[in-house]
């Protein structure tokens, strides 16, 4: 058995080495706390500043600003002598706190007094007919391919969904020599113009946005506003895509090789749900989120939420949110005074307020039009791990299933390897619309270990039968 019981007790374990995890780890280490930061990737950076694959000897071409920031993050952690556990996937966190993770060889358990959860978000995709065929990928996944791996998914691509990732991905695809056949956006051009005033509050991102849009104009990429993908079918040499104008009801066919689609992001709540923390539903913050106070303390004592985990505010706000959460932790542990806590948090909050305006505008561009849900065909698969269609979900509702966990039990929705991360949002929307109720009333999927599938051989290794813990025989 290779369950390694690490005897070191940490003051703080930070889960997730993105910008918020790194900033909170540093803030704690600066004050002399024993910190461990865990991440499943092989270096710090998270999603936005994701490190290129280990097998890359150097980044081929088009070195990006993100790659530089990423390097700095890894170096900073080293400089502050923060213990890192890269390549470790957390699969179980229990109260007290015990963190279980596995890497390529074994599984390990660490103990800590406090936890900072900086596990970010995952992407939200509203299903359409054919979204599970090969060649359909996530828009955020496409961003990782471009910015970290430096390759394009195919020569020709359709970008669909909504929000700023559409224009960002369009820009990088063009930059790396690909061709965007179309942008299919559920928003109208007016929605974009309306958001300008708010978006401008974040000068850096706004300027980037302008640069991206300019490229889209320059490359004459057709933009289909108020549109959604209705259906995609595999044909010789690519994918035939039928798009629907949500306003006019008109259809159009486009042909391409790949589709990258995304409708914004959902905060990752795997660990907080496992710890039975309280959660609330906030559509603008991405869906179900852990309930936090003004300083990002969760409802579980000693658990703090850094970054986008308790509501989406974006990468630039992430490091400040990490500072805020860790400052609360330092104060709770009586390491900093009330005065220092007040001064520091006031400063951070002021900065964060500015980002919130920007985040709200982004969330508006990522909002899900009602029609997008209504329009889902009844034979469309919603839970792709278990192949559960909209029809099957609604038939369970008709039979009297009243909450999302009952739907799970009756239909197997959310029982696959992704544990409902992909389908919970859409399934809840579908049911809420059908029953004409609030999503809050449906609840959220109970957190279950392991939060990522655990390879059995890696946990067990080679073992002798005699070494298996002896348990009392069941009564005869």
């Amino acid at each position: 058995m290779i369950l390694i019981n690490n005897k070191t007790k940490y003051d703080v374990i930070v889960i997730g080495a993105g910008p918020s995890g790194v900033s909170s780890a540093i803030n704690c280490a600066k004050r002399g706390l024993k910190v461990l930061i865990v991440d499943s990737n092989h270096e710090a950076g998270g999603q936005i500043y994701r490190a290129p694959p280990k097998t890359y000897k150097s980044i081929p071409k088009n070195k990006l600003e993100e790659n530089e920031i990423q390097k700095k993050m890894s170096i900073e952690l080293k400089n502050y002598q923060i213990e890192t556990a890269y390549n470790h996937t957390v699969w179980q966190v229990s109260p007290g706190f015990k963190v279980n993770a596995f890497n390529d060889f074994s599984t390990i358990q660490w103990e800590t007094k406090s936890l900072i959860i900086a596990t970010g978000t995952y992407e939200k995709i509203i299903p359409f007919e054919g979204w599970t065929i090969p060649g359909v990928i996530g828009l955020a996944a496409c961003t990782v391919m471009l910015k970290s791996h430096h390759f394009i998914p195919s020569k020709k691509i359709i970008l669909a969904g909504n929000g700023p990732l559409l224009i960002l991905v369009a820009y990088y695809i063009s930059k790396f020599g690909g061709k965007v056949d179309a942008i299919v956006d559920t928003c109208s051009k007016l929605d974009w113009i309306r958001s300008t005033l708010s978006l401008i509050t974040n000068q850096k991102n706004f300027n980037d946005g302008i640069k991206w849009i300019f490229k889209i104009f320059l490359n004459r990429i057709p933009v289909h506003s108020n549109c959604k993908i209705e259906k995609a079918v595999e044909v010789d040499g690519g994918i035939k895509v039928k798009i629907l104008n949500l306003k006019t009801g008109e259809y159009k066919n486009i042909f391409s090789e790949t589709i990258a689609i995304g409708h914004g992001l959902t905060p990752s709540t795997d660990i907080t749900r496992l710890l039975r923390a309280e959660h609330i539903y906030d559509e603008h913050k991405g869906g179900w989120i852990a309930k936090v106070d003004r300083f990002l303390r969760s409802s579980v004592n000693g658990v703090y939420l850094a970054g986008d985990g308790a509501g989406i505010s974006g990468a630039l706000a992430a490091s400040d949110k990490g500072l805020l959460a860790s400052t609360a932790l330092l104060y709770d542990k009586k390491i900093i005074s009330k005065k220092e806590f007040d001064t520091n948090t006031r400063k951070i909050k002021k900065k964060l307020d500015k980002y919130e305006v920007f985040a709200k505008a982004i969330s508006k561009l990522n909002s899900i039009p009602k029609k997008l849900i209504e329009n889902i065909h009844e034979d469309t698969i919603i839970c792709r791990c278990e192949d559960i269609t909209k029809k099957e979900i609604l038939s369970a509702v008709d039979q009297g299933a009243k909450d999302i966990n009952q739907i799970k039990s009756w239909t197997r929705l959310g029982m696959g390897p992704c544990q409902g991360r992909t389908c919970q949002y859409t399934a809840s929307k579908i049911i809420a619309e059908y029953l004409n109720c609030e999503i809050e009333n449906l609840g959220y999927l109970t957190g279950r270990s392991p939060i990522r599938p655990v390879p059995i051989d890696r946990v067990l290794g080679d073992f002798d039968y005699e070494k298996i813990t002896k348990v009392e025989a069941a009564p005869l």
Partner: protein, 365 residues
């Protein structure tokens, strides 16, 4: 205030089977659950329908229960996955071999058609088992039911038989006067019943206190492990000599590992938590039995709270000193027998001559 002939508190397999049978016989039945039908231990059970893990004295009941499960389309629902499989109970060491032979003999005495077979014969039954076993016990009467589907199946069947279902109703008090039961709910509503059946599983100790009856019901937080979908790696239900493993592959390819390795849990706040070291022990035993399982990944772990009396035998039958009040529960490895036990209690209530003396609650009073 609403009235009913029969009020059943607890909508698990025990309560629902009893209620279904009574409703089919024309009685007006109300089932009350603090959550949903079959959402407690009944919905998260391993669903193993085996003689190899059944307590010897319960074998005659388990056999009847097994037959009911294999015939769900006739009395419950067509839409529930129940499979008949051969059952193999494995012994890896000399001690286990002894234990297996001894236990099989006793179970056989009580009517289970179990025979001890050689390694070679066992491999012919299922070529996927560990070739290093010493021997195995074989029984054709084995299989499984997909426990997560019971909620759907029972809900539908109960509704079709006009059973009144009160879900999300927590009982705060039971008053007994003029031979009637007034059930008071936390939401303030009340229900009057002529007959009362308590079937609250792990909460039976708590519920019996409403009638000033104090018996000890242990809470066993059992862990279950399910793999992601795999190609076919086994074709039997596997158990081991000491009863601490149940293993089977469902039609969708997932493999369910159970056997009663405890996690952490309590009934006070319905909290459960996995115990990694016991998950690992349980997985090792499973991989030792079916080596191909090692190539899989664990998709999900969950816990169910099993009820057990001090002698690990069921309590079924009349509650002394109360007219028309009954209890059903703590049926050790009771998933197999559950539907039959419910049917028996229903028959007793309907006035048939049924002997439930083995399960009399008086033994604890």
């Amino acid at each position: 205030m609403t009235q009913t002939d029969i009020a059943i508190i607890g909508g698990g397999v025990n309560g629902s089977s009893t209620g279904l049978e009574l409703a089919k016989n024309g009685l007006n039945v109300t089932i009350i659950d603090k959550n949903f039908i079959c959402r407690g231990a009944s919905g998260v059970n391993a669903g193993t329908l085996t003689m190899h893990m059944t307590r010897a004295q319960l074998i005659p009941y388990a056999k009847k229960g097994w037959e009911l499960w294999m015939n769900t389309s006739e009395w419950l629902s067509k839409e529930i996955e129940v499979e008949k499989k051969n059952g193999l109970c494995l012994a890896f060491t000399e001690d286990e071999e002894k234990l297996l032979i001894e236990r099989s003999k006793v179970r056989k005495k009580y009517g289970a058609d179990i025979k001890v077979i050689s390694r070679k014969e066992a491999q012919r039954v299922d070529s996927n088992i560990n070739p290093n076993i010493r021997c195995a016990a074989f029984c054709e009467m084995d299989g499984y039911v997909s426990a997560n589907q019971t909620g759907y199946a029972y809900s539908k069947a109960l509704k079709e038989n006009k059973v009144n279902i009160l879900e999300n109703y927590s009982v705060s008090e039971i008053e007994y006067n003029n031979n009637k039961y007034v059930i008071v709910f936390e939401n303030g509503e009340k229900l009057i019943a002529s007959n009362l059946i308590l079937a609250t599983g792990v909460n039976l100790g708590k519920t019996l206190k409403f009638l000033q009856i104090d018996i000890n019901i242990k809470c066993l937080p059992q862990q279950l492990i399910v793999s992601e979908r795999m190609p076919k790696i086994m074709d039997t239900v596997i158990t081991v000599a000491n009863g601490k493993l149940s293993l089977k592959q469902f039609n969708n390819g997932t493999v369910l590992i159970g056997g009663g390795w405890p996690g952490i849990g309590n009934i006070e706040d319905n909290y459960t938590e996995t115990k990694p070291e016991n998950l690992i022990g349980n997985m090792m035993l499973a991989c030792h039995a079916i080596p191909k399982l090692k190539n899989s990944r664990v998709a999900r772990v969950w816990l169910g709270l099993e009820a057990e009396t001090d002698d690990a035998m069921p309590i079924i039958g009349e509650i002394p000193n109360f007219k028309n009040a009954y209890v059903i529960g703590s049926i050790h490895s009771g998933y197999t027998s559950g539907p039959y036990m419910g049917k028996l209690l229903a028959e007793k209530i309907l006035g048939k001559d049924v002997d439930l003396s083995l399960f009399d609650i008086k033994r604890f009073l």
